[in-house]
């Protein structure tokens, strides 16, 4: 992938640290000295055990939290400026739809906030719903949808304003295995359709391998980057990809980066 290597990073993280409750006995170093450069069009997974700082890192990128040290640059701007310019879309672990809005009007939300006129945002929302295959549910209310469908609406919402970056914090964590794998497939399709740069938080190894072009493995206490592993399985990836020996090799490689070399010891 020589072409991507020469392009400038769309996201640059330089020596970022995040300390909560500094100076008190509850001090937690969630992130320590994180360096990371993400190129346009990459699908990056942040993978690591619970509490290692994945969400914190993502929130620092999205300007929802402020690093206590180091700098973050998005599209050459500060995270604050990038947020103000609506450069990114965000999908949280819970769908977080507005109960009082129909599915279509939920998807319109970022456009409405940005002051886009009614006709345009309606058209755009319908296009997004087609992308996540929920067109016929446009007029439903969130409570009438299953959890997986709600999460697809949240993805459509995050994409509706055409952001160049998509942040996702365990968006599929609450789903069952079948829905999860189906949505993983859809996510890759959307990613290749929209050319978005994705930063995806997960603690599932196989999910990270299936989706990502690169996996950033994090370790806990303090949160550090333990490894950065390129996943060179060709796209488009399908159900068959999950059965390939290369897939399992990659899973093993990532697992070793997480836990160290395999041994006979029980874990």
């Amino acid at each position: 992938m020589t072409t991507t290597e020469i392009s400038a990073p769309i996201i640059a993280v330089d020596g970022v640290s995040k300390r909560f409750n500094a100076g008190t006995d509850k001090e937690v170093t969630a992130l320590e000295n994180i360096d990371l450069a993400i190129r346009p069009g990459e699908f990056i997974s942040l993978l690591g055990p619970s509490g290692c700082g994945k969400s914190t890192l993502l929130r620092c990128l999205a300007d929802l939290a402020e690093p206590t040290g180091g700098t973050v640059t998005l599209n050459g701007k500060t995270p604050r400026a990038a947020r103000q310019d609506r450069d990114y879309g965000m999908v949280f672990q819970q769908a977080g739809l507005f109960d009082w809005r129909s599915v279509r009007r939920n998807v319109e939300l970022p456009l409405q906030v940005a002051g886009v006129d009614r006709a345009t945002r309606r058209e755009k929302a319908e296009e997004m719903l087609e992308l996540v295959r929920l067109s016929e549910f446009a007029r439903h209310y969130p409570w009438q949808l299953s959890g997986g469908m709600q999460q697809r609406v949240a993805i459509a919402r995050a994409l509706s304003a055409d952001p160049s970056i998509l942040f996702m914090d365990e968006p599929l964590g609450a789903l069952d295995e079948m829905n999860r794998e189906r949505l993983q497939g859809e996510l890759l399709r959307i990613w290749s359709d929209t050319q978005t740069t994705v930063v995806f938080v997960t603690h599932s190894i196989s999910e990270a391998v299936f989706l990502s072009s690169r996996i950033v493995v994090m370790s806990a206490r303090p949160g550090r980057i333990a490894a950065s592993i390129d996943v060179d399985l060709p796209y488009p990836r399908t159900a068959k990809t999950r059965t390939l020996p290369e897939f399992f090799d990659k899973v093993t490689e990532v697992r070793q980066a997480l836990y160290g070399a395999p041994s006979d010891q029980a874990v």
């Binding site: 999205a62 947020r83 879309g89 977080g96 507005f98 970022p110 409405q112 439903h140």
Partner: protein
Amino acid sequence: MATLTLAPGTGWTERLLPAVRRALPVAVTAVVILGGWQLAVRAFDVPSFIVPAPTEILAAFGHDFGTIMSASRITVQAVLLGLVGGSLLGIAVALLISRLPAASAPVLTAAVVLNCAPIVALAPIFNNWFGVTSIQSKAGVAAVMVFFPVLVNTTRGLLQVTPLHLELMSSMAARPRQVAVMLRFPNALPYLFNALKLGTTLSVIGVIVTEYFGGPSNALGVYIAYQAALPRFEYAWAGILVASALGLLMFGLVGWIERLLTPWQEPDHDDLMS
């Protein structure tokens, strides 16, 4: 949820049937209660100054129909004025203190405490302030009674938004005004309507009780108190039943407006009125 169709009802029968199904239990209950009441009064020969039979009340109602209806009109005006006035005031103060988080806690605490006070006890004082025959004295008591639940509930609704929703709005760089209009207001609507439904009953109580302490000679509360003093209890009962019907009617009206304004709410449980 098994079915997800929101298609409008296709035929009259399909639309009518649920209405009938909802109304039927209420009608049956009413018939059983009234029938039992009538039988009991007749069987035990209860004197009508203790409890008159439904037929006697009906006859009294028929006899005094014109008087009772014109009395109801006076009373309904006061009830509506009190309900609307108290609600608007409650909403206004809620909007104000939700903007000032430092003020909201003490104001809410005070409101909750005052809400426990028997506000109807203020009735004679309001009559003294605004004049016994004025509509302001009746509506005033009702407004004060409505004010507190509306204030408390609306403030809760405005403040108790999901942190996730706030973060979402912030990730989209929403301005505070947009957060208010797109998130806080719709979030507060169901809270507000719960308070309003409570408020209809309170407003009727406030007005009628204040009228007990004196009012324009043709108000419902005055009528009830006067008939009871005569004593013509079947007429008093007719007035009381009309007052209850008024409360019910207004509760239903608020419920209907609620369904219009909050169409996203699951049609369910607390919707007895339809």
